[in-house]
């Protein structure tokens, strides 16, 4: 895995984990201040959506971010409505659910390419004897990891 691919694989999971931690800490601060609203704004606006959007492999960062914002707002609405509907309105609970969603997405962003990479290696190993037999025709093995992590 080259540096570029490695960075792309980890960047959003790292941002999501850091943002979740920041939001969880900021909500304990007394009063609104400046940090708490900014942390809440960033987290609710970007994180739940960007937990999943990178899985779609959209090349344009602006479009991906817009989609992430739209999905974040949607997930925020659905979580808030769920709490209203069930009569369990609580900002802390809502934040916890959204942090859980964000971390689950972050985990998926890491696991899916890694799983694909492992599967790819196994396929390459299994195909190796056949490849050696017909090396002239088969050419280089496709990099499934690269394909799976392309964004």
């Amino acid at each position: 895995m080259d540096n570029h691919t490695f960075r792309r694989l980890w960047i959003w999971p790292a941002i999501l984990v850091a943002s979740s931690a920041l939001a969880a800490w900021a909500v304990t601060l007394p009063g609104p201040g400046l940090v708490r609203p900014l942390a809440a704004f960033w987290f609710l606006l970007v994180c739940p959506g960007m937990a999943f959007v990178p899985l779609l492999g959209i090349g344009d960062r602006l479009v991906a971010l817009t989609l992430g914002i739209a999905l974040s707002l949607s997930l925020g609405v659905l979580v808030a409505l769920g709490m209203l509907g069930l009569g369990v309105w609580s900002a802390t609970l809502g934040l916890r659910i959204l942090i859980g969603v964000s971390l689950a997405g972050a985990a998926l962003q890491l696991l899916i390419p890694l799983a694909a990479r492992a599967t790819g290696r196994r396929r390459v190993v299994e195909a190796e004897p056949a490849r050696q037999r017909g090396a002239a025709e088969s050419g280089p093995a496709p990099s499934i990891t690269e394909g799976a992590t392309r964004q």
Partner: protein
Amino acid sequence: MTHALGTIGRRELPGGPAGSRRRPGLVWAGILALLAGACALWAFSLRRIDLAAISDYGLISSLPATFLLALALLSVSFLLALHAERLPEAVLLAHVVALVLILYGTGPLLYETPRLSWTYKHIGVAEYIQRTGGVEPSISIYFNWPGFFALAALFNQIAGLDSALAYAGWSHVFFELAFVGALLLLFRALSADRRVTWLAIWLFFVTNWVAPDYFAPQSLAYLLYLTLFGLLLNWFKVRGEIDEATVARWRVPRRLVPLAHRLVGYPEHDGAPNAGATPARRVGVMLIVIVLFATIVATHQLTPLVAFLCFAMIVLAARSRALGLPALMAVLTLAWYFYPAFPYTQDELYRFVLPFGRIGENLDRNLADLAAVSDGRAFVALTCRALTLSVWALAVVGAVRRFRAGHADVSCFALAFVPLVLPLLQPYEGEMLFRVYMFTLPFMVWLAAAAIYPSAATPTTRLTTGLAGVLCGLALAAFLIAYYGNERTNYFTADELAAAEWIYEDAPPRSLIVMGSFNSPMEYRDFERHSIVTLAGLDEFRERAPGPADLVEVERVMRWAPSSYLLVTRSQIEYVDLFRPLPAGSLTNLEEALRGSDRFKVAFENRDARVYVLTEP
């Protein structure tokens, strides 16, 4: 990855540039200098705008020449950037961001409080949810579609804010900036020609005078609407021609197959193929589409109906592979109307169904009587109409030119023209034409841009550049009048808000708040605790000025509740003078009478607001 969604800052797209072939470095430097100059001039202009000088013609009457010069420089810079060779798209994006900040950020930067009276009501609904942790559908229609308010309440609580009052004024900038990405997603699905894409984005912001961008459910629903169709057009479109054999498989009567084929068997728009649309990713995108649509359904009553109508038409025209989605849209929409929103549906269904087909009446309720308003207001209203009709007319020209160039943009046509049937169904409290314009606008401006560049093969010439410049300039001039035309009434001073705050601090629960007109910064807190009536809304005062003889009537109204307050503000007086729900000057005359009466006394006053109470409660 190489697909339709491109990459800002790196990618060269077709339809590029033919002009500026010499010394591109010099052209780039010139473009960036113009952009920086425009931003600096705008910043310089802000301090020179005198809000007290706003006339009936709106904010444009108090804008300094440097503000207009900033917009002119920015427009020239954008047109140069649009046609410059190998210029990164990030520069075009920077121009659009600057345009959004100038056009939509000027208000929030100038005003001490959020714009538009409805904003305050929406802040109040969110504050109710935040305070009580529930909704009460019987109080207001808003609680039947509470998605936006629930999100705002959740954010307020997590952020440690008492309400959205501190940030709601910036919604205009937030939503307009968010629209940029959504439009890029949409327009790249329609064409790979970057001239059309960016010209259409520019045109959107200089013609978006209805502006679904304030702190409101419609703004959120609109952002999701644009994103949803961006996803559907990119990932689920049917490309290429449909042959007769395919049409025959749709169980069309055999004799009608050739006709059906002529109607649908043409190549769709020329957006670049989305090579990333693998089956697994399509499943993911479809899940996101469903989440977005479910949110729209829970957020706004009209938007899901429009989305359903448009997408059903796209599927009927065989232009999407998401064949089951219209059925799911219908089920989700009806389920919401008949379960969570049932209190509203039950009471209002007849009012909803009654206007079906009464297009004359519905249109009448959507068009202001220009004879009954001030000259300035009439001019602003005429400008709005002219801008609307011009955009639509140009879109028709664009559609024809695209068709003649070999493209039939069926999905775009559906999204641009299907919402035009809405006035047949509903007047929507006199706002349906606004909504129609809003829903159709992105697709109309795309077709308008395509009128200049109907295909990627259309060369960039001085004529096309000149036409684009004239179009942008005229639209911008009309926009400044149309969008900021009612600014005398749309902004509120800190003094007006202070008067409202005094009432909320002083008033016991179940008080009655009487106002001259509804145009005040009220209901942003304690939404359910007090009742509000307006003199303009009472039959007693309809079409005649309340004078000294009417104080008895005002007192009678104020005795409806044990505790009453009469609030008269600067913006109410401006509203009455501009829109004439009461004869011009009514509220000023009424105040003179109130001050001369021993039955009323001033309980609170400042420069822009007075609160009157009864001397003998």
